[in-house]
Every structure is written in C-alpha cells, then in structure tokens.
Amino acid sequence: MSAEALAFGERREPALLPAFVLAALVHLFLAAVMFLGVRWQSHPPETVVVELWEAPPAPAPVEEAPKPPPPKLEPEPVPVQKPDIAVKAPKPKPKPEPKPAPKKDVDFKKRLNEEVAQEQRAIDEQLREAQRREAAARQQAIAAAARDRALATWVDKIRAKIRGNIRLPGDMSGNPEAIFDVTQLPTGEVISIRLRKSSGHRGYDDAVERAILKASPLPKPDQLNLFERQLELRFRPQDK
C-alpha cells in the first residue's frame, strides 16, 4: 500500500510545457483579435464627425487663396495710366525745343528742360503716393473682408451646430426670426443666453435656447484672434 501511495504522489500531470505554450498562443490570438477588432470599429465615427464640419469652411479658404494675387496684379494697370499723363508733359517739351533753339541760346533750353523734369518728378511722386495709398486701402479692405468672411464662417459653423439640435415645435408656422445674444468662454462653453428679439412663438424661442445649451461647447474659430465672447445669433425656423 505504501509503495502505491508513493507512486501516486510522484505522479505529475503530463505535458506541462506544451500546455503552457498553447495557452500562451491562445491568449496572443485573443489579444490580436481584440486589438484589430476594436481599432477597426473606431474609424467610422471619425469620418461622420468630419463630414458634418468640413462642408461650410471649405469654400472660404478657396476664396481667400486667389485674393492675394490681385493686389500684385493691380500695379500693372496703373503704369498704363502714367504714360497718359506723362505724354502731356513731354509734348510741350519737343514743341518749345524746335522753336527757341534756332532763336535763343542753349541756356534757356537747359532751364526749360530742368523745369520740365522737375515737374515730371513731382507728378510722378504724387502718382506714386496715390498708388501707395490706394494699395494700402485696398489691402486693408481685403484684410477686413477676409476677417469678416472668417467671422461669418465661424458664426455659420456655430449656427449649423445649434441648428442641428433644434427640435421645431409642432405648431410652428411662418418664418419669424429670433435673435439671441450668447456669451461664451474662450473654450466655447456657453455662459449665458439672452433672448434679444423673440420670434413671437414661445415654443420656438425655447427650442432654440435649449439647442444652444446643447451645442455647448461651441466650435472654435479657425484663427483664435477671431474669437469674440459676445455673439449675436439669428435663427429662423426655415433656415437652410
């Protein structure tokens, strides 16, 4: 009996190492499946989110890009004008030349030439000054327009996000406009909403207010210097 008990105690489960290796393989397989499976699933939401936002800002950069060239092109047409004026000045030049030349001395001719040249220079300078001023004004106007456009894009983006959240009340009729003053933090979080002009329909005003709250945090502008704490947002039920 004791010999048997000893034999029993000595017995070990066979194939410990192969079992260990196989178990490790199974778990590696599981890890691979989980990694690949979950990573694959995370892609679709990304594209959905992008689809919503890419549409409005896309045209803006396209318009902005071609604008800078015009100011460079503009100086070219102006020189065309300069000859027009310059032609008037040289005209008197050749006329007096043949007349006094035979009659009087060379000094007079010289002086005349100098005077004409001076006049010409003054005219040129004035022209250049005017051009510079014009160009600066134009550039300012372009910058302001770009800023306005970017601001409008941003506000459009915000309104688009809010509009997605508006649940129109069932008894809505007509297309009245509601104006809201929205104060936000630089992070886009909405601090306060004030109804400036009611649409005349209580339900619609409330729906828009709820939608603004729900849209918090609001999208940020493309350039951070465009940010404004106070925004005036206008909504109409049939906005597209």
């Binding site: 000595e10 192969p18 979950v38």
Partner: protein
C-alpha cells in the same frame, strides 16, 4: 471634439479605474490557467485512453496473469490507470493466496476487489484533478467580469453627475472600457465550461470501463482461486 478619436483596446484598459484593472488582471490570469488546464487535461485524457486500450488488448489476448503482473511492476512509473488497478488487485490476490495456503476463495477475491477499488478511486481522483478549477472558472468568471463592468459603469456615470448637459460622448468611453471586463470574463468562462463538460464525460466513460474491467477480473480471480 470631446470623443477621443483612437479608441483602441489599450487606451481603454489604461484609462480604466483601479478596480477594473485588478479585475482584468485577475481574469486574464484565471483564463490563462484554465487554458493551461484545458490543454493539460486534453493530453492526459488522450493518453489515459490510449493506455487503457493498449492494456485491454494485452489482457484479453490471453497472456499469463503473472507475466502481465511482472510487466506492470517493472514499468510502474509509466503504466496507465487500468494497469495500476490490475496490479493492485493481483498483488493482493497473490499475497492472500500465499499467506495461508488454502483460504476461502471468496475472501481472496473480496480482498483483491477492495484493493482494486482503492486504486480505482485514486486513479479517478488523479484523472479528475483540475476539473474543479475549470468548473469554477466557468461559473464564476462571468460574475467577476460583470462586477468589473458594473464598477466601470458606475464610475462613468459618477463623472456625469456634475455636468449639466449629458451627452453620450461623455459616458461612452467609460462604458466601453467597462465592457472589456465582461468580454474577458466570458472569454475565460466559455472554453472552461465546454472543456469541463467534455472532460467529465470522457472521464466518466473511462471510469465505467475500469469498473467493468474490475468485475471481469474478479471473475477470473475467483475461477483461479477455486482451481
């Protein structure tokens, strides 16, 4: 955008709370052990079946009982369960027969039978080793995983309490990371349950085979004792 874009399993696990992490580690360890036992038992049962078949073939091919017994004693570390049962029974029988020359045949057979039954119990115990672990893995690890999930979801909702505007995006990552615990719990449990059912069935069949062999061998011993 509030949702993190790259939700892969690693970020989920790393962002999980401590309790969920502990649950995950525990489940992975349990799953690893249970798979190890699954493979081990698979090899062991296959070997036991092969050895049983081989011994039955040898036994019924009409070899001398003493020759078989000698073979079993010399190879006692490598022989299978059925051969051990045979060896224990025959040793007891030989002892009883040699002791008092002419003792009662039924006493001798009963003694051999008791010895065989003891060895049989021990062999069955050896074959069933670790099966209890598979059974408890199968029944408990889903609950452990569920506990991790519930804890993770509680965590996810608690962070929602101080937010005015509740959105799905704020809860979704928390719930996703919590559900990983359930997934791993089920991954540990399902194979364990399948293997437990399969192996306990296999071992029961082997046990039946041993028992019928014991009956037949007792008859042979009885015939020898009477002779």
């Amino acid at each position: 955008m509030t949702v993190t874009q790259d939700i892969d399993i690693w970020t989920l696990v790393v962002n999980a709370s401590v309790v969920v992490k502990v649950v995950l580690v525990l489940l992975i360890a349990v799953s690893f052990l249970s798979w190890m036992f699954i493979f081990q038992k698979w090899f062991a049962i296959r070997r036991a079946r092969r050895q049983t078949e081989q011994f039955e073939r040898e036994f019924w091919s009409g070899n001398e009982l003493t020759a078989l017994y000698q073979g079993a004693v010399t190879n006692r570390h490598t022989i299978g369960s059925l051969e051990r049962v045979f060896e224990a029974g025959f040793r007891e029988f030989a002892k009883l027969r040699g002791q008092r020359g002419g003792s009662d045949p039924s006493d001798m057979v009963n003694g051999a039978r008791r010895a065989m039954r003891a060895t049989f119990q021990r062999e069955m115990d050896f074959l069933e080793r670790h099966l209890a672990f598979l059974a408890s893995t199968g029944s408990v690890s889903p609950y452990v995983g569920l506990f991790g999930t519930v804890w993770g979801i509680m965590h996810a909702f608690r962070s929602l309490a101080n937010v005015q505007q509740a959105t799905l995006a704020q809860v979704a990552p928390g719930i996703a990371e919590a559900l990983v615990a359930t997934a791993i719990g089920l991954f540990a449990a399902i194979p364990a349950v399948v293997a437990y059912n399969r192996y306990s069935h296999d071992i029961e069949r082997l046990g039946n085979r041993f028992e019928s062999f014991m009956e037949e061998f007792s008859n042979i011993l009885h015939r020898q004792a009477v002779k």
